[in-house]
Symmetry: D2
C-alpha cells in the first residue's frame, strides 16, 4: 500500500493496435519510477484483474521497458480483449454469453492497492475507463487511435504513423496507375472520421479524396477522372476512407463480422464499391487496394514517439498533481489535460470548412460533392 | 541511317510496372550517347511505331533522362498496351477485335532507321520481342519483373524492391497480429513463382509461407497455428503467393478479369480463401490483406537501381559488341548475357530443395506440405 | 497589368534548403491558377529580377509543377544567392564588393506587373522580404526552416523531415554504440534553437540532449555516462545541437567559413568538442558524427508535405483576401496568419520549462544542467 | 557432453557492428534446436570463455532469440572486445599490456563440452577463429562485414544495408547540393575495398566515385566538376571511400586513434581532404560529410536479413555434415561453403575492369583516373 508520497499505479492498453503504445508505457514507467512510485501493467486489457483469466498483473521495471520505444504492438499482451461491462462467457472456446464484471475489476484494483490507472485507449476504451471511474476507480486517460477522432487533443498518437503508411502506399500506386493507365482506389482506415484519408490523400496528391464527413456522389468522382482524361492524364488515384458515405448507397459499406470468423472488410468494402462504379461509368480499368491493418503496425514515426512519450509522462504528472479523471492531450504542440468526461462526449471530425479541406479543393482534388 | 560507328537505337518498356524501369532507360541513353549514338523511346509499348496510334517515338536526350533513376513508373507512357501480334481493334473505346500488326511494327522500325531495339520486359514481353526478332528486328532484351521468374538471370530488377515492400508489410502486421491475437494472412504477388513470398516471408519471419512450387494442405497450415497456440503464441502471420496451390482446391485462385472492368483479384483470391479456412478450422480470428500493386510501385531500392543501371549499360554493350538477340542477366553479381531464345524457354522457379526453402524449414516456418 | 480579379503573382525561395519547398511552390501555383491568376517563379532568390544576372523569371504552369510535391530541393534554382541589400559584386568569379540593389529589385517587380510576391524563407529571408515590403513591394511570407525557430507558427515546414532524419540516425548509432561499448555523439542542426536536437533526441531515446537554450556543463554530461556505467549500461548516445552552449567554453563552436572555401563545420564543431571531453573525462571510447546537410535534403515527410501544401494555398488566400504583409503559420494544426513584421521580431526558442524538456527529464535524459 | 546425435554448439560475434548479427544468431539457434542440439552464446567476443572476465556463456533458447531478426547490434554484448592472442591486461581501466590467452580460450571451450563454435565475424575475426581452429577448436565461420571485402562469398551480410544507408544519404545531399550550388563530398566506409562507395555512388547517381582500388588524381575530379559547370550544372556530388587513394598524397588518410580516446576519423579524413582541394582548385563552395557509424547500425534490409538467416542455418548444416573449418558463403544467390583457410587468404576487391566500374564510366561518373 502506498504511503503519502509513494504511489502504486497501473497501466493498461485497450482497443485496436496503434504505433506508440509501448512508448507511452515506457514513459509512464520511467516518470513514475523517478518519483519513487511503482508501476504495474495489467495484461490483456482488464483480464489481468479478473480471477481465473489468463492475463496477469506484472511489475513494470526499468529493465522491462528498455528498448521498447520504437517497437510496435504492446508489451501488455493483447489490446483487444474485453469490455468489463460485457465480459465474454466462454464455453469450449466459444462466446456463449456476456456478463457485467466491472465491480470485480474495480474491487481487484483496490485490493491490489493501486492508486490510479493510466488507461491508454481510443474512444471506446476511454468510455469504459470513464464508467469504471464513475464506479470509484481513479483513472487518467491517454488518447490512442490511428483515426485521430478523439476530441480534446489535436492529435492522438499513432495517427501520424498511419498517415505515413497510407501516404507511402498512395505514392507507390501513383506511378503504377500512370504506367498502367488505370484508376487505383486506395481504401484507408477511418470509420467515422476522415483524418487519415484527408491527410494522406493530400500529402500523396491523390486526385480524389472521399471522407465520411463529406458524402460523395459517384458522378462527381467520375467527372474528375474524365476531366483528367481530357487533359491527357489517363489515370487517377482515389483515396477513400472506409467510412466514406456514398450518397444513396449507404448500405454499400460492409459491416464487420464478429470474431472467430474471417472479417470481410475486403468484400464489398467501400473501396471495392467505388472501384466497380468507376469502372462501370468511365470504362477505365480500375483496381482497389485495402490497406487495412498495415496502418496499425510498425515502428512509430518520430513525432508519434514524441507524442506518446509526452502523453506518458504527462499522465504521471496528472496523477502527481491530482488531476484524476482527466485525459491528457496536445494543443498547439503543448501538453494539456481535460476532464475525460468531456473528451468522450463527442468524436472529433474533419471540418468540411477547415483549411485542409480547403487546401484539397484549391489543389484541384475532388471531394465528391462537386457540382457536375 | 547510321554509319558504321554511329547507331540509332530504340528502347521500349512492356508488361507490368516494376521499380527500376526509368533507371534502365537512363542507363541505355547515357551509355549510348557516350558512344555518339542516338536513342529514341517508343511510347506505350509498340504503339509509338504504329500509324494512327497515340504513342510516339521521342528522342531521348541527356536532359530528358535527368533525375529519373529513382522515379517509379516509366517515362515512356504506359507499359501495358499491346501485343503487336494481337493488336486491339477499337470501336468507340471498346476492343471489338484483335489483329496481327507485327509486320507493320517491324517495317516502321526499319523505316525509322533504327539499328536495334532494347526491349525491357518480363517473360511475356521478351517472348514478343523474340518473335519480332525472328521477323528481322534486331533486339536486345532486359529482364524486368518483380516476380523474379525469368530464367537466365539471378535477379530481375524490381524484385528486391517488391521484397522490401512485402517484408515491410509483414513486419507491420506482425505486432498487430500479436496485439489483437489474430492470424494475419498477407497475399503477395507471384502467379507462377514464389520468390517474393519466400524471400519476404523468411525475412519478415512469417510463420507460414505458401508458394506455387510447393502445393499446400490447409491442415498443415492450421497445425502450425495450433502448435504455436500450444506454446502460448496466440497469433500467426501467413505469407501466401497469389499463385499458391491449394491441394484439391486449385479452382480457388481467381482468374484476372480483362481490362475495362475492375479486376477482381481481391475477391476470392487465395489469401482470402486461406484466411477463411484457417478461421473455420482453428476458430481463430483471421484477416487477410492483399498487397497487390503496392509491390510494383515506388522508388527502386539501391540494389534494384544498381541492377537496372547495369542492365541498361550492358544492353548497350551487347549492341556495340554485336550480341544481338541476347538478353542481359546477372550471375554471381556480375553481368552476363545469353540468347533471348534460351532465356524465355522456361520460367525460373523456386527449387523446393534449394537453400532458402531449407532455411525456412529450419527456422520452423511451415510451407504447408508438412506431415500432420 | 492585372485587372480587378486577375492577379500576377511571383514566388521565390531563399535561405537554406528545406524539404517541402517544391510542395509550397506547387500549391501556390495550383491555388492561383484555379482563381485564374498567373504565377511566375523568380529564379535564384532575387537574381531573376536583376538585369544581367543569370536567374530568370519563369512562368509556372500546371505542367511545370507536376509531380514535384515529393521532390527535395527547389525548381527555382538555388535558394542561397543573395541579399538584394548587399548584392555581391563579382570580378572573375570572386566577390570583390557588395552593394544595395534593393531598389532595382522592387522596380523590376513592378515593371513586370506583379501584384504580390510569395516569399518562402526562413528568418533571414523573411527579414529581407519585410525590408522590400517596406520599400513598396507587396509580400506574403511562408515560414521555412528545418530549425523550426520562426515565431508565429507552431511548425515551419521541413522541420519534421529533419527530425525524422536525425531520429533515424540516432536509432542507427544506438545499437552500434551498444555493440561497441562506446559513447556516440550525434551533432544535429540548430544554431540558435534546439528543436531538432530535443525532438529527435527524445524520440530516439538519446541519453543526453544538449540544446542552445540550456547551457551545459561537461561534468553533468559525464556524470550521466558514469551513472549508466554503474548500472551496467556501458555505452551512451549524446545528441547535441550545433549551437549548444558549453558553459565557459563558448568559443568552442566554430563559425562558418564564407563561400568559395570548404566550410569547416566539422572541425572543432561542438560535437567534436563534446566527444573529446567525454573521452578525456570518462576514459570511454567516444565518436562523434555530424549529420549536417543530410537534414536538409530528401523527400519531405507526409506531414511536412501537408504543412507545405497548406502554407502554399494559404498564401494565395492571403493575397485574395488582401492580407498583404502577412506571414502564414500553423496554430493548433490550423492555418493562421500574422503580420510578418511581428513574426520576425524574435526567434522561437525551446522553453526550458516546456513539456518536452520536462518529458526529457522525466525519462532520465540529461540536459547537461543537472547538479552533479 | 554430446552423444552421437546431440551437439552443444557455441556462437560468438566479433569485429565491428553489422546489421544482421542477431538474425544469424537466431537462425543458428532455431536450426540447432530443431536438431535437438543446445546452443550457447559467448558474450563479448571471447571474454565469456575467460575466467575473471565480465562476459559470460549464456544458454540461447528459442525465447531468448524471439523477435530479434530485425534488431541491429548483437544480443551477445559487445562485438569489439579482444583478440585472445593479444588479450589486454588492464590496470585501473587502462590497457597496460597484452598477452596470449588463446590456450585458455581453447581449453575453456572444451571444458564446457562444446562441439563447435560458429564464429560470426569479418576478415580479422575469421583469422582469429582460424588460428584457434589450428589449436584444436572446431569452428565454422560466418562472413560478416559491411565492407563486403571477404573472399569466398558474393556478399557478406550487412553490406546491402550499409549501401542503402549510404545511397539514401547521397539522395538527400543531391537536392541540397543543387539548391545551394555546392559540391558535396560524402565519405563512406571502405578502408581497403570500395564496394560501398561504388554501389551507393552509382545507385545514388553521384558524379564522382573514388575507391581504394582505383587511385585518383584530384585534377580529374575537378575536371568533372568543371565539365558539369560548363553544361550549366552548377553543383556536384562526390562519393569517396574512406580508403580512397589520393595519388601522391597517401598520407592524407588518417589513421585510427586507439580506444580510450576519441577516434579522429573526421579530422583530415579523405573526404575533408578532397573537399578542401576541390574548393581550392575550382573555387566552388564545397562541404564534406562523413557517414561513419550510421552505416553500421539500424534494422537490416530484407535481403541482408535473408542472407543472415541463410548463413545461420547453413552454419548449422555445416556442423551437421561435418564441414568443420569451413566458412559459409553466397554464390549465385545460393549457399556454398569453402575452407575458412582459403577464404581468409585474401580480401575481395572491386575489379577495376568489372561491370559495375564499367557501368559507372558509361553513366559518365568520374572515377578520378581519367585523362585530363
Amino acid at each position: 500500500m502506498a504511503d503519502q508520497t509513494t504511489k502504486r499505479i497501473a497501466v493498461n492498453t485497450g482497443g485496436g493496435d496503434a504505433p506508440g503504445l509501448n512508448a507511452v508505457i515506457r514513459a509512464v514507467v520511467l516518470a513514475a519510477i523517478q518519483r519513487g512510485w511503482e508501476v504495474y501493467g495489467i495484461e490483456d486489457g482488464y483480464a489481468g484483474l479478473l480471477r481465473g483469466e489468463e492475463g496477469e498483473v506484472v511489475a513494470l521495471t526499468r529493465d522491462r521497458v528498455r528498448g521498447i520505444t520504437f517497437l510496435g504492438g504492446t508489451i501488455l499482451g493483447t489490446t483487444s480483449r474485453g469490455n468489463p461491462f460485457e465480459w465474454p462467457v466462454l464455453s469450449e472456446g466459444e462466446v456463449v454469453d456476456r456478463r457485467d464484471r466491472s465491480d470485480e475489476v474495480v474491487e481487484a484494483f483496490h485490493d491490489r492497492g493501486f492508486d490510479c490507472l493510466v488507461a491508454i485507449g481510443g474512444d471506446g476504451s476511454l468510455r469504459l475507463a470513464q464508467r469504471l471511474a464513475e464506479k470509484g476507480m481513479p483513472v487518467v486517460g491517454v488518447p490512442k487511435t490511428i483515426d485521430n477522432d478523439v476530441a480534446g487533443t489535436d492529435f492522438t498518437f499513432g495517427f501520424h504513423t498511419a498517415v505515413e503508411t497510407a501516404t507511402e502506399a498512395i505514392d507507390k500506386v501513383h506511378t503504377t496507375a500512370e504506367a498502367h493507365e488505370r484508376v487505383m482506389v486506395v481504401e484507408v482506415m477511418g470509420r467515422d472520421a476522415g483524418w487519415i484519408a484527408l491527410y494522406s490523400g493530400v500529402a500523396g496528391t491523390a486526385d480524389v479524396v472521399l471522407i465520411p464527413e463529406i458524402p460523395f456522389r459517384i458522378e462527381a468522382v467520375c467527372e474528375k477522372i474524365r476531366e483528367r482524361q481530357r487533359r491527357g492524364r489517363d489515370f487517377a488515384v482515389v483515396c477513400v476512407a472506409e467510412g466514406a458515405r456514398h450518397e444513396g448507397r449507404e448500405e454499400a459499406v460492409t459491416k464487420e463480422v464478429p470474431s472467430g470468423e474471417v472479417t470481410q472488410t475486403r468484400l464489398g468494402g467501400i473501396g471495392q464499391v467505388v472501384a466497380e462504379e468507376i469502372a462501370e461509368h468511365t470504362g477505365k480499368e480500375t483496381r482497389s487496394l485495402v490497406l487495412g491493418h498495415l496502418q496499425r503496425g510498425g515502428t512509430p514515426s518520430p513525432y508519434d514517439r514524441l507524442i506518446a512519450l509526452r502523453f506518458g509522462t504527462a499522465a504521471v504528472r496528472c496523477i502527481a498533481e491530482d488531476h484524476i479523471g482527466c485525459m491528457v492531450g496536445l494543443r498547439d504542440d503543448g501538453i494539456t489535460h481535460m476532464p475525460m468526461e468531456e473528451a468522450i462526449q463527442q468524436k472529433k471530425y474533419v471540418s468540411p470548412d477547415g483549411d485542409v479541406v480547403q487546401t484539397a479543393r484549391e489543389l484541384g482534388i475532388a471531394l465528391g460533392d462537386e457540382e457536375v
